[in-house]
């Protein structure tokens, strides 16, 4: 049996390596030679990063008709959330019964970041006698049906909030969250293959890969393992050779389904660096509505504002954090009225530079996970694909490398 885990995991590795090789086309090679002098960022490892040896990853199989039973059992562990269709869109909502769940979705409007850094939450309460910190209760939250891109998004938030300085509010929520992933098939807006986030090896507790009549269940953490052990009557470790073959075929089919890509994602940091003064930014700035939708839906956007509110009786009040966006006006305005980024162009430039370039210098990886939310929801079509394409074309305009 042990051999079979190894087989699956090795296959995953090979798939990733072959993907990298594919990327290394002649064109990109030329660009890499041309631009490599600009690559001055050391690829630093994140402060806290647990390398899990994927060979140790335990894998189970579950028959599809036992899934409702699994949901019933997992519900006893805490409040369960999962993808639900409502109002024509999907979102993670509270789950009462198995029938509420709908796993046949591409993306929810807001990702699982809402469980970790909710758009609005209290941090402090005070009255005339003093102040107390507000923390969430110890109740476990379970979110099921999270796609690989969103799991990568959570990993990026973890690096920021659980790095050298830990954010106590995030930490509490993160410790109380159980993440159960679910496999997905891409649509025309999915770009996770370009960003390298179409597969996950860690960051989840359990991960369900849906095949024809059963699930492959991957265990990604101790929490996940204990859930798996509790459910051993539903899960089995017997995975046959045919089932592995079926998984392999499914992976191949999935990887061929991607229609969109970010051109030369690997070199985007350099391309942005070269394009710092490009007129492309002005063109996008002209179009941008400064509405903040991109930050609201992005699974890695986490900037927050802090505001105090006093209740109507003027006796007590609270301090709260509200999701903010660097594309909104006044984002960089200081007391006295000086605004460091008064125009849309400079704010939009901060958004994309920070996300696609500067994150690499800080954490070794851009903070775009290719979920396609900005592609779907930006009302004026400013998104990672259009921005990176425009920048790519701009830098290639007069250069023979792009032929």
């Amino acid at each position: 049996m042990c051999q079979k885990f190894t087989q699956i995991s090795t296959f995953l590795k090979i798939l990733q390596i072959s993907k990298i090789l594919e990327l290394n086309s002649k064109l990109l090679y030329c660009i890499s030679l041309k631009f490599s002098i600009f690559r001055r960022y050391p690829y630093r490892l994140p402060y806290k990063y647990n390398f899990k040896n994927s060979l140790d990853m335990k894998t189970y199989k579950m028959s599809k008709d036992r899934f409702p039973e699994f949901i019933e059992k997992i519900k006893t562990k805490g409040q369960l959330y999962g993808p639900v269709k409502g109002n024509g869109k999907y979102s993670f909502e509270e789950i009462e019964k198995f029938e509420d769940l709908d796993f046949d979705y591409q993306r929810t409007v807001i990702g699982p970041k809402k469980f970790l850094t909710p758009p609005r939450y209290q941090t402090l309460r005070y009255d005339k006698s003093g102040q107390t910190d507000v923390f969430v209760s110890d109740e476990t939250q379970i979110v099921i049906g999270v796609h690989p891109c969103d799991i990568h998004g959570i990993k990026i938030l973890d690096r920021l909030f659980l790095g050298n300085i830990k954010d106590p509010y995030y930490e509490k929520r993160r410790n109380n969250l159980i993440i159960i992933g679910h496999s997905c098939l891409p649509d025309e807006n999915c770009i996770c293959q370009s960003t390298g986030t179409d597969m996950v090896e860690d960051g989840f507790d359990l991960f369900f890969t849906e095949l024809a009549d059963h699930y492959l269940v991957w265990v990604g953490s101790d929490k996940g393992l204990s859930i798996a052990i509790e459910n051993e009557d539903i899960l089995t470790e017997e995975i046959s050779e045919e089932e592995i073959q079926e998984y392999v075929r499914w992976q191949q089919k999935r990887s061929e389904m991607f229609k969109s890509e970010i051109p030369s994602f690997k070199y985007l940091a350099d391309i942005i660096h070269l394009n710092y003064d490009s007129k492309v930014w002005d063109q996008f700035g002209e179009k941008c509505l400064s509405c903040g939708t991109c930050s609201l839906v992005c699974p890695t956007c986490n900037c927050f504002n802090v505001e105090d509110r006093i209740s109507m009786n003027t006796e007590d009040g609270f301090r709260e954090r509200i999701l903010d966006s660097c594309t909104l006006p006044c984002y960089s305005m200081v007391a006295g009225g000086h605004d460091f980024r008064p125009d849309r162009t400079s704010r939009l430039k901060l958004y994309y530079t920070h996300k696609l370039k500067e994150y690499i210098g800080r954490w070794g990886q851009p903070s775009c996970v290719g979920c396609g939310r900005c592609v779907t929801y930006c009302p004026v079509d400013i998104n990672v694909i259009t921005v990176s394409k425009a920048l790519y074309e701009e830098v290639c305009e007069n250069q023979e490398v792009c032929e």
Partner: protein, 284 residues
Amino acid sequence: MAITTREGDHSYVTQPAKILAMKDLTEDTRYFKFKFLDESIVEENYKPGQFAIMSLPGVGEAVFSISSPPTRTDFIEFGVRKVGSFTEALFKLKVGDLVHLRGPYGDGFNMESLRGRDLIIISGGLGAIPLRSVLLYVEDRREEFNQVFFLNGARSPADMLYREDIIAMAQRGIIESHLSVDKDDTGEWPYHEGVVTTLFPKITDRVVSEKTTAIICGPPIMYKYVIQELLKLKIPKDQILMTLERRMKCGQGHCGHCAIGGRYTCLEGPVFTFYDVQHIKELI
């Protein structure tokens, strides 16, 4: 995080501090002196140039440069200009009232690495507030530094901060001060008139460029012109230190407001060198 956070505290813990004294410096700028209620907190583990976050329940939080030096450990001082809702509420407080402080945050001037060097301290307007911490540090540990020049620019004689203190320090030979105002509307200003860069000729012949460190703080417009003068004096780029201002909410690199490219001013600043400025776009 030495002042307010102790073992076991989370990073947003604030400490109540009492207003010991306050004094109007100019029409809209006031000096505040605080003492922590918790006697075990000693105000010494910070660098000049670092900042603290002050909280008033019901009003909010705001960032202020610490203007007292780490060498004076019985109290902590700030200089505040009334420009917004928070400072308006702060100005309404009386001696003995409480505020909540957390910090210090950011990376300040590393005074220990400047031992034995000449200093040119250049301040414009409110820039004198964080630089007061540097000046008082120099006063308390004068033997650690060689010659110290202080150039100060203000809009008018009434806008000049800490005038008596600076003149007293100059008379005692601690610093060589050169003061200037953009426009003397009183007709009684005994010193130079003109922008701060016009003070440079007074010190040019005595600056030893390889031994000198320049420390700048002032309004955004000032940096460009002052740096030009310093480069003319051949001060090395990594010895031109400046402290910058950005909007901040958390002080811990999480809220994102102070990001300049990938740098967070609250973690890697507010003190930057001219070398940083050349390599990070948008810094000044």
